[in-house]
């Protein structure tokens, strides 16, 4: 890694505006994600957290603003350069978005098959390695997504997101729909993977536990802008009414013990 990379943010979002019809969802939003950190992204339901994620990865068109990922302006880049960026990130969708007609093994191997020229043996071995990393047994490999539980789907989806060893992963509500123990394991897993693989993680979440245990930094979305960004301590010190309610509410106190 070059020294300059550490200074520059891995994602740099400037003055992003996204509009659906007359509703302005994001309004001149700025956000930086630093290399190697786990950024927790919170905000009220319907504030546009998923919209921002989908805008960064290019699924939602924006009206104005610029997005740089790995120092590449995504609007200015096309073709090979754009694919090069996409190859370096992995996305975990809220519902998993596994290909339902492929087995777990084929799902994880799908990006490898497209982007890498490696032998079937190596792909199988790497698949097993990824399954082990996300805490699944090798037997799961031949099952279809419809035969998996909700937690397993999230884990397989994470394994697929990690299949090309990306530098950056987007997790959209990774712990929603998991039981507290499963969610705790998942947070731990994200932490471990971030350490072992040197990942940068952009995590949209509603889970206070995840924010406490997994995230290095927290950004809060409100009224189409980032209303606060900083460490957990900064969030708790903030006087913003929504933040006070969120981080000092009944559930937050329960988490903090």
């Amino acid at each position: 890694m070059m020294a300059g990379d550490i200074q520059n943010p891995i994602i740099r979002v400037r003055d992003i505006t996204v509009q659906f019809g007359a509703t302005r969802v994001l309004d001149g939003l700025n956000l930086d994600v630093k290399r190697g950190e786990i950024l927790g992204f919170v905000g009220p339901s319907g504030a546009g957290k998923s919209v921002l994620t989908r805008t960064i990865i290019g699924l939602v068109p924006k009206v104005a603003g610029s997005i740089e990922v790995f120092g590449v302006d995504l609007d200015a880049s096309g073709g090979a350069q754009r694919r090069g960026v996409e190859r370096r990130w992995g996305v975990l969708f809220q519902q998993g978005a596994l290909f339902s007609s492929l087995t777990v093994r084929q799902n994880i191997q799908f990006p490898m098959r497209e982007y890498l020229r490696v032998s079937q043996r190596l792909m199988d071995e790497i698949t097993m390695a990824k399954l082990t990393m996300v805490g699944l047994k090798p037997e799961v490999a031949e099952r279809f997504p419809s035969e998996l539980s909700g937690g397993m789907i999230k884990r397989v989806a994470l394994a697929r997101a990690l299949s090309l060893d990306p530098d950056l992963v987007f997790l959209d509500e990774p712990t929603s729909g998991l039981d507290p123990i499963g969610a705790g394991d998942f947070d731990e897993l994200v932490r471990t993977l971030q350490r072992t693989l040197g990942l940068t993680v952009f995590m949209v979440t509603h889970d206070l536990d995840s924010l406490y245990t997994a995230c290095d930094r927290i950004a809060v979305l409100g009224n189409g802008k980032i209303i606060a960004a900083g460490s957990m301590a900064d969030m708790q010190a903030s006087q913003h009414p929504w933040l006070r309610q969120y981080f000092h509410g009944k559930r937050a106190r329960a988490v903090m013990g």
């Binding site: 890694m1 290909f99 339902s100 007609s101 093994r105 490898m112 890498l116 020229r117 490696v118 032998s119 190596l122 199988d124 071995e125 790497i126 097993m128 390695a129 990824k130 082990t132 990393m133 090798p138 490999a141 031949e142 279809f144 997504p145 419809s146 035969e147 990690l162 090309l164 060893d165 471990t192 350490r195 072992t196 693989l197 040197g198």
Partner: protein
């Protein structure tokens, strides 16, 4: 030290030492794999084996696994291969891949003669299952209609009207257009061949009988099976996939009553209407061609038509329509509710809904032909 990865052998007396350098990442995976495969073949029985990774510039899961694979294959007997010079950044990654159990993937067996025979056997025994499924659904639909007759307010009127709009009103343009064209073609072909015998006018007889008895309803039924049968299967199938049907059941609703009955009712009402419109469009198209191409003017056409056909022909055609609609609807709903969790399964069932629907429509048409012949209509 970034750049192309290398794996070099360093002579160290009785020990085997390998020195890995460069970038060991997914991008170089093919090169790495070849190098590791070559290194695995290194002969000799050294007293100790070292893999020096201190000069590896970048390591990811692919690289870490290949080093681990090399370590495992070099480890023979009492001599265990050691990884040396691992930087702290990457030690947790290497530890992680060390936990991986290399379980060989069981390949599914290739096509064999017994396998093919087994498939044929399963397909044949599946036919009985298909028929049983259709009869089952017919029974369930009749039972649900019975309940609705007793409590008319439990009929989902809004849903029925919505489906009626989808399968009837919105189908009118395409059905009328296609039957019109078919009428034109029948008349043109008839005139072309009958003219040689000077029997031009008999094209009206042929057109009237053919369209009203057979073509009108059969063609429309086949189009409806393709257009609406497939839509029913896809709708019910995706509801099944997303557990919406289970949700209905747990709330105490009968999916047959809520989902299947309105669709069936809409189809049974729609097909006679469409068959009638189709028959009229075909007669109109035929008449137009007879006039413009065959020189049979409209008055002569109508006069001849009145002589050639009776109300029986019309009844024979239109009576078949609701029965065919019921067959299409039942096949579509059975297939829709049989969809499993995958997108592939949805596609398979939608295909077989249309194929079976058209097949049964033609079988029904044959049965009706025998029936009407034996009662002399």
């Amino acid at each position: 030290m970034s750049g192309d990865p290398k794996l070099e052998r360093i002579a160290k007396g009785n020990a085997l030492a390998l020195c890995a350098t460069g970038t060991w990442t997914a991008r170089f995976a093919p090169v790495l794999e070849r190098m590791v495969a070559d290194a695995e073949k290194l002969a000799g029985s050294p007293q100790s084996i070292f893999i020096d990774v201190s000069d590896v510039a970048k390591l990811d899961t692919f690289g870490a696994w290949l080093i681990e694979r090399l370590r495992r294959s070099l480890t023979q007997g009492a001599v265990e291969a050691q990884i040396a010079g691992l930087s702290t950044n990457y030690s947790s990654l290497v530890d992680e891949v060390r936990r991986v159990r290399a379980t060989p993937v069981v390949e599914t067996s290739a096509v064999t003669i017994t396998g093919m025979l087994e498939q044929i056997g399963r397909a044949v025994s599946g036919v009985a299952g298909t028929v049983a499924g259709l009869v089952d659904m017919l029974g369930a639909v009749l039972a649900a209609s019975g309940r609705v007759l007793i409590h008319p307010r439990s009929l989902r009127l809004t849903s029925t009207v919505h489906h009626l709009e989808q399968v009837c009103w919105r189908a009118v343009p395409i059905i009328v257009l296609i039957t019109f064209l078919i009428g034109c073609i029948i008349a043109q072909q008839g005139i072309f061949h009958f003219r040689r015998f000077g029997a031009d006018i008999f094209v009206v007889d042929m057109l009237g009988v053919l369209v009203l008895r057979e073509i009108g309803v059969l063609l429309v039924a086949i189009m409806v099976a393709g257009r609406s049968g497939s839509a029913y299967t896809a709708e019910l199938g995706s509801m099944k996939m997303r557990e919406e049907i289970d949700a209905l059941r747990t709330m105490g609703f009968d999916p047959i009553e809520v989902l299947v009955l309105p669709r069936m009712l809409a189809l049974v009402l729609a097909l006679p209407i469409l068959a009638f419109l189709g028959a009229m469009a075909a007669l109109y198209g035929g008449g137009l061609v007879a006039w413009l191409y065959g020189g049979v003017d409209p008055e002569a056409f109508l006069l001849r038509l009145r002589d050639a056909i009776s109300i029986d022909h019309f009844i024979v055609g239109i009576v078949k329509a609701p029965v065919m609609a019921a067959v299409i609807g039942i096949v579509a709903c059975v297939e829709g509710l049989a969809v499993q969790g995958s997108a592939e399964s949805l596609g398979q069932h939608t295909t077989s809904s249309v194929v079976k629907g058209i097949f049964f429509v033609i079988v029904m048409d044959g049965v009706f032909a025998i029936f009407f012949a034996s009662i002399g209509m």
